[in-house]
Amino acid sequence: MATLVLGSESAIPSCLMEPTTTLDNEQATELVDQAEDFVEEELLVEEISIDGMCGVY
């Protein structure tokens, strides 16, 4: 069986390269505090195929 491509619900994971911005301790703490915002912002860009919507033939 060929390798299955994993992906979250309908999103194609955005390019997962290492961010080059470094965070100091204060920023890291802020990051944890803003956990809810951060989760939402993990999917800032979602790609969907132009063919990937139901209702066209």
Binding site: S14, L44, V45
Partner: protein, 109 residues
């Protein structure tokens, strides 16, 4: 002439050839940006790819990129909170990887 509707396949996303952080980027001229309540829809007329930009802040930032020598300068000018920089950088890298952003000095492809 048809152009390829590229496979939605993470292993084949092209890596940008320029050092990302040191480049002045701009929205690819063949990309249409359509405002939506959640941010914007972005469609690339050449490669047929469709991206949802899920933050109005990201949309504004993308439009502002061409006015700055690199992404960090654009983040700074936009007053983007430090804890949001990684997610925004990731987003811009994703857009660059699918050709939605191009370097300012790129010849029009």
């Amino acid at each position: 002439m048809s152009t390829t509707n590229p496979a939605v396949d993470t292993t084949e996303i092209a890596q940008p050839t320029e050092p990302f952080s040191a480049t002045a980027w701009r929205l690819h001229p063949r990309v249409a940006l359509r405002p939506e309540p959640f941010g914007a829809l972005a469609y690339h007329y050449d490669n047929r790819r469709l991206n949802f930009l899920r933050s109005p802040d990201l949309v504004a930032l993308v439009k502002s990129l061409q006015d700055h020598p690199n992404p960090a300068a654009a983040f700074d000018a936009a007053g983007l909170e430090a804890h949001r920089w990684p997610a925004f950088e990731q987003a811009l890298r994703a857009l660059a990887a699918s050709d939605f952003l191009q370097p300012m000095d790129a010849a029009h492809r």
